[in-house]
Subunit: 191 residues, 2 copies
DNA sequence: GTCTATATGAAGATAGAC
DNA sequence: GTCTATCTTCATATAGAC
């Protein structure tokens, strides 16, 4: 599994070969096929496990800051770290690339990553709204949560995906996290 | 080229075979190789041409509305139509998937699509700022332009990429376009 | 459970005739 | 310029011994 994970995340489904996986694992071809019936089944197992890791890392995000700005900023910074990590980018790449061939895997990824985060954010927005700190009546809580997540992730993720190998600096991550929070709070914070 | 475009956009580089392209074009293997030396070269030619189409469609966006809201809304709606079109989604999928193997192609795509649009939007934001209708001093004009684009594209593009075949309704596109504009104007419009 | 060895098919690319 | 036929390599998957 570890070998398959490394190979599939790096090359995607089609370009990955069972030879690579077999060599990375230090076993023979037949050993791989004794555990998983086909290359497809192994791929699905790998991506499913990776989605579980993703969910866990997102659900582990914790915030006990004071102001809404601080909560959102902490959330933005930690989320950027996850999504811009090498494995985060590789997972996104592979899932999107092979979505037409593995639609179930892609759906599961959406639920594991973006959807889970939307829910986490929506919960925090609810609390802020209840405390009277913010107001989302213009678009609704769920839409607002998704808009915030996309503000945070958008530009940097796209740059990373189209400039493979070049990692954005901590300063850049901080800049975009703050810009997203500033925008969101200006739009929905009470004056 | 038309046959190669169809096959590469549907399957990506690795899963596409020269046989598919040859059959789709109604010619023989050797004919393909008499025009392009390798599969790689054909792929690069196809994606480059597609990026040119992308630039052209973005630069063709025109707006002569009155209020900043209307300009941004028209822009958002037309951009969503481009980016959520079958060829727009396929291009994104393939470019991102094969970025590690074809980094130059991926860089060109970023410049053709997201970067070009950022520039177009930034120009309009400049005009709005000069007219005193908006104020981007908090984050800067370029960052603001990118934030707006990501508000517009974010959620729907991600859903389309992870739910292949299911096209969002016109009502959904309208909902997200309006939500993005509302958020952006609330954040940066003069009161 | 794991190995070596191999079956079987398909991929990218070319030779040479028309 | 295009075709048919073919070369070579490498892919997935399996058979059978240890």
């Amino acid at each position: 599994m570890a070998a398959a994970r490394s190979v599939f995340l790096r090359h995607g489904f089609s370009a990955a070969t069972t030879d690579m996986i077999q060599q990375a694992a230090g076993v023979s071809k037949a050993t791989v096929y004794s555990h998983y019936p086909t290359k497809e089944a192994l791929f699905i197992a790998v991506i499913d496990a990776e989605c579980q890791r993703f969910i866990a890392s997102i659900r582990a995000l914790r915030f006990q800051s004071t102001t809404p700005e601080e909560v959102l900023l902490a959330l933005a910074q930690e989320y950027l770290e996850i999504v811009l990590s090498p494995s985060g980018l590789d997972l996104f790449r592979v899932v999107v690339a092979d979505a037409p061939r593995f639609p179930e895997v892609a759906r599961k990824f959406y639920l594991a990553g973006p959807h889970t985060l939307n829910e986490v954010v929506a919960t925090h927005l609810d609390e802020a709204a209840e405390r009277g700190e913010m107001d989302f009546s213009a678009v609704g809580r769920d839409v607002a949560a998704s808009l915030f997540v996309n503000l945070v992730r958008g530009e940097l993720q796209l740059q990373c995906l189209t400039h493979p190998g070049s990692v954005p600096s901590a300063a850049q991550r901080d800049l975009w996290a703050r810009a997203a929070v500033v925008t969101f709070v200006r739009a929905y914070g009470k004056r």
